[in-house]
């Protein structure tokens, strides 16, 4: 039972190690592609098991919970793992064209796979300190990937990214220490029960520490500065995987902790989350409106969209959590894809600065088509995935008559349209200022395939979610139900005994 949980961790690590030893040859990149493909298979296996049989938990080292480390997948974890694997495959293929040999020699593929492993570890672990460890694995790999490109922008972005994330990491660590100090345990399922005996006031204070720590990771207001400062600087493959996954790990952690452990004083903690989420949405989208660069706009939109997801959590109603889960799934796919598209744009049009590019609609209609799918999905246009995500959140807010919140969510949607059309008008519709004809045929066949297959694949997922949302909504409902009533989760973990009872 437990190996199905281990494979999604072990495969990327093994891939990273192999890719490292073959980093000087072309084999490295294919190892990465093969490894992520294998990972996808393993993730599907896990997903299927969780989908059919419910929460899967395993005790590492066969030590029983809560003493040993638990890996556990409920529906939320399982789907996050699956989406991560999908993004990993897409980006690994994209990297075939996007990553230069210099970066490969410096270990790009190894770093990338470790990053994926860290993300997956965070999704799969059922232990708070272990979560910290995976956060760090993810963080350090992201540091490396971020600065791999070198150059002034990447280094400057790196400085801010590193500095601000380190603060959050240390706060997280401190929070773990404090939480252990009042509960005596680290196992999340065990914590869920142990907090009942803890002093509620003290628990609230510690919850706030976690909220801020994860808030930095998730890029909530006013903690998001690192993201727009850095996400536009690295390789496109890197910013795509960052955009898709990293903040979502923060959101995931918020969801996990604030449904499983810190649900003792929703009137305070979740109310704060609610207003933070609203501010995040609004400030993020206004930030995007102020930008004139493809990737910078996208970066601020990550912030804004995180607001929606956290809003779903903050509402803490069944529908709100359904919306949060659905939003996560949708957003990872769409946002990663938009960054991938930005990369192709930059390659053929010469820049991501909107004033310096154009002509993509006329000369690269396929790219334009794929962009429209992703961008208008992000903007929440039906019948694309983003519409249903927004719909669920707005409905959840309206359901409990949170008028201002719903209004903000809708207004932010409008501003998202504004930004996406700004990109569309400047990069796609308007002619290129230098008269360049940005055609996809500038690429070799192999490059074109490596660039376009992942983009098209992710776009197809976006459309599929949009046209057949029922399966995803139903799934999100099941996942949300597990979150709101974690009895299954707790039973699976605390009953998943090792050899010693």
């Amino acid at each position: 039972m437990s190996w199905v949980l281990v494979l999604p961790l072990a495969i990327p690590f093994a891939t990273a190690i192999l890719a490292f030893f073959y980093r000087a040859s072309r084999a490295g990149r294919w190892i990465s592609v093969a490894g992520t493909a294998l990972l996808l298979a393993a993730s599907l296996l896990l997903f299927t098991q969780v989908f059919q049989a419910g929460v899967v938990a395993g005790q590492m080292g066969s030590w029983p919970a809560p003493f040993g480390i638990t890996l556990v997948a409920d529906l939320l974890s399982a789907v996050m793992v699956l989406i991560t694997a999908i993004i990993a495959v897409a980006v690994a293929i994209y990297a075939l064209a996007d990553i230069d040999e210099a970066a490969e020699k410096m270990g790009y593929h190894a770093l990338f796979n470790v990053l994926i492993a860290g993300v997956l570890g965070a999704f799969l672990t059922g232990d708070l300190f272990n979560l910290y460890v995976w956060f760090e694995v993810m963080l350090i790999a992201s540091f490396g990937l971020l600065v791999l490109k070198g150059g002034r922008e990447a280094i400057d972005g790196g400085i801010k990214y590193v500095a601000l994330n380190l603060v959050s990491t240390i706060l997280f660590l401190t929070g773990i220490g404090l939480l252990y100090g009042i509960t005596g345990t680290l196992n999340l399922a065990d914590l869920s029960g142990s907090v009942a005996a803890a002093d509620p006031g003290l628990l609230t204070i510690i919850a706030m520490a976690f909220m801020v720590a994860f808030g930095v990771k998730a890029a909530l207001f006013p903690l998001f500065f690192w993201l727009p400062a850095s996400y536009h600087t690295p390789h496109f493959a890197v910013s795509a995987v960052f955009a898709g996954l990293l903040t979502k790990v923060g959101v995931y952690a918020l969801i996990r902790m604030f449904t499983l452990v810190f649900d003792h004083d929703i009137g305070f903690t979740h109310q704060i989350l609610l207003w933070v989420a609203v501010l995040t949405m609004v400030v993020g989208v206004l930030g995007a409106a102020a930008q004139g660069d493809f990737r910078k706009i996208l970066s601020f939109h990550i912030v804004s969209q995180i607001g929606y997801m956290v809003l779903g959590l903050a509402l803490m109603t069944p529908l709100g959590l359904v919306g949060a889960v659905f939003y996560l799934i949708h957003h990872i796919v769409v946002k990663a894809n938009l960054f991938l598209i930005a990369g192709v744009t930059s390659r053929i049009a010469g820049s991501t600065a909107l004033k310096q590019i154009g002509g993509l609609y006329a000369f690269a209609p396929l790219l334009a088509f794929l962009f429209v799918i992703a961008a208008f999905s992000l903007a929440g246009f039906p019948p694309l995935s983003g519409f249903w995500a927004k719909f669920l959140i707005v409905k959840a807010a309206l359901e409990i008559e949170a008028w201002i919140v719903a209004g903000a969510a809708l207004a932010v949607g409008l501003m998202t349209i504004y930004s996406m059309t700004k990109i569309w008008a400047a990069a796609f519709w308007s002619p290129h200022p230098d008269g360049i004809e940005p055609r996809l045929s500038h690429f070799s066949v192999a490059e074109r395939r490596a660039y376009l297959w992942p983009i098209a694949g992710l776009a197809a997922i976006t459309v599929a979610i949009g046209l057949a949302p029922d399966a995803f909504v139903t799934f999100s409902e099941r996942a949300a139900a597990q979150l709101l009533d974690p009895a299954d989760y707790i039973a699976a973990v605390l009953g998943a005994g090792g050899t010693l009872e």
Binding site: R152, I155, V162, L173, T174, G177, Y180, G181, A229
Partner: protein, 123 residues
């Protein structure tokens, strides 16, 4: 001792934060090291403190004597120290590279990724 150490940790944190806010990246690094130490001490303190009884099992015994120090926080701190070192090593390298590439050690003068609005974005 927990209480005294709590105060000491507070002071370490204050010093660290003050350093980190200085804008000089070297001072930031110093602050980082300090605050990491503070965090490690926090875990250690939160796991409660026992004088001089390491969690070791004497040869021939099956378990440590009653009242040995809490082993779990120690393991956590040890892990945190090593992770912290990894992060520190990267950060210090980055500062160095930033000095080499950006020509400044003052954080607020590092504006390559977020140039002032009036400056044209670097190509």
């Amino acid at each position: 001792m927990e209480a005294l150490l709590a105060i000491t940790i507070g002071a370490l944190v204050a010093a660290a934060v003050y350093l980190m806010l200085s804008g000089h990246m070297l001072r930031f690094i110093f602050g980082l090291v300090l605050i990491s130490n503070a965090a490690n001490l926090t875990i250690f303190t939160a796991g409660r403190m026992t004088e001089g009884a390491p969690p070791l099992i004497a040869p021939g015994a099956n378990a440590p004597p009653e009242g040995v120090a809490n082993a779990l926080p120690q393991a956590l701190v040890l892990t945190a120290i090593v992770i912290g070192f990894g992060l520190f090593a990267f950060a210090v390298t980055l500062v160095w590279r930033a000095w080499g590439t950006l020509g400044t050690i003052e954080a607020d003068e590092m504006r390559a990724a977020e140039p002032f609005p009036e400056e044209p974005a670097p190509k």
